[in-house]
Amino acid sequence: MSNDRAAAKILNRTALTKLLVQRLKHDEAVVAGIGNTNFDLFAAGHRPQNFYMLGSMGLACPIALGVALAQPDRGVIALEGDGSILMGLGCLSTIATMKPRNLTIVIWDNGIYQITGKQLTATGGVTDIVAVARGAGIAASEWVRDEAHFEQLLDRRFDGGGPILLAAKIDDEAGKGQTPRDPALIRSRFMKGLGTGRGGALEA
């Protein structure tokens, strides 16, 4: 496991997020954690099934679990940074217990709290997040070796085979976009994208 981590090439979150979004062909829901993670999701091109968190650090995976349980036939992807997942590692145990087959977790691991001044996280030192996830019970957890490997790992439908956790080592670049800071609008559009909105005539 530690060899996999050492061998993982340092990639770029903006580029990988674009690759991921290009692969989404079945209206998969994507829940992106705070900061750079959702800035890059937004920069990859807004989709109605995107949910952007504006706070509640560490809750991208629990929110994605809720979406996955409510709509078991839809692929759901949680995007989360290393600092954020470290804030709530327990959710990995919950997800392993619930076994949502339609949930994929992607961890962007730059080993730093990039957005607050590049302070080191534990994954920049001793903690191997893939080993943590496997230990929590998510057996299908692995390090992304390089960009080609990431594409290979994404070459699947997202509505089955989970829960899966992919961790990619990334550089220290900031995210490229800026999500609109309107929570009620984000929620309303996401619900419309998932077919649960009640906008009705107002959407015309």
């Binding site: 509640s56 809750l59 629990p62 679990l65 349980l69 959710c91 919950t94 619930m98 619900m191």
Partner: protein, 175 residues
């Protein structure tokens, strides 16, 4: 009918199927009832903010949910309420077993309990303290309907007057 059966029936009547929780002695009859009934989908969370997150995702995807926790667990979720539940207008139903009052043995519980209602009030979250089985059905049923209709969270605080309090505390204090 016990208070817990009545409360679970009210959740069912309002299509609240997902129960996320961190356990507590007082909640035990509720959680036992949830796990014995296939209607409910239960998720045992490791922290109360995680439980809030999962109910939030489920609501947006069309599944109504409630979070069950104890007073000290509520003290962990101020940030999730302020940055997720309230601004995103999520009708999270919170069921909080009230510790720290009327026969508490643990000083930590009695202190943290004092933060609960001020936190709810500061965030403008409607809360009702359930004290008896006579008024409980009207309060719970109407407030759940109001929560989903107005897209706002609501908290139900389970008073020891309703539940009899924490059995472990009663034994320790020889109540």
């Amino acid at each position: 009918m016990t208070w817990s059966d009545t409360l679970l029936g009210l959740l069912k009547d309002n299509d609240v199927r997902l129960i996320t929780y961190v356990p507590d002695n007082v909640l035990t009859p509720l959680l036992t009832g949830v796990n014995a009934d296939n209607y409910f989908l239960s998720v045992g969370a490791t922290r109360e903010d995680e439980a809030i997150g999962t109910v939030t995702g489920a609501y947006m995807a069309g599944l109504r949910g409630a979070v069950m926790m104890q007073t000290s667990g509520f003290a962990l979720i101020a940030n999730a309420l302020a940055s997720l539940t309230v601004p995103y207008q999520i009708p999270a139903i919170m069921v909080i077993s009230e510790r720290g009052t009327m026969g508490e043995f643990n000083i930590g519980q009695s202190l943290v309990a004092r933060t609960m209602r001020p936190t709810l009030d500061a965030l403008g979250i409607t809360h009702h303290t359930l004290t008896d089985e006579i008024t409980m059905p009207f309060i719970v049923d109407s407030s759940i309907k109001q929560a989903f209709s107005t897209q706002a969270p609501v908290a139900f605080i389970l008073s020891p007057l309703l539940t009899g309090g924490n059995p472990a505390a009663r034994a320790k204090l020889k109540l």
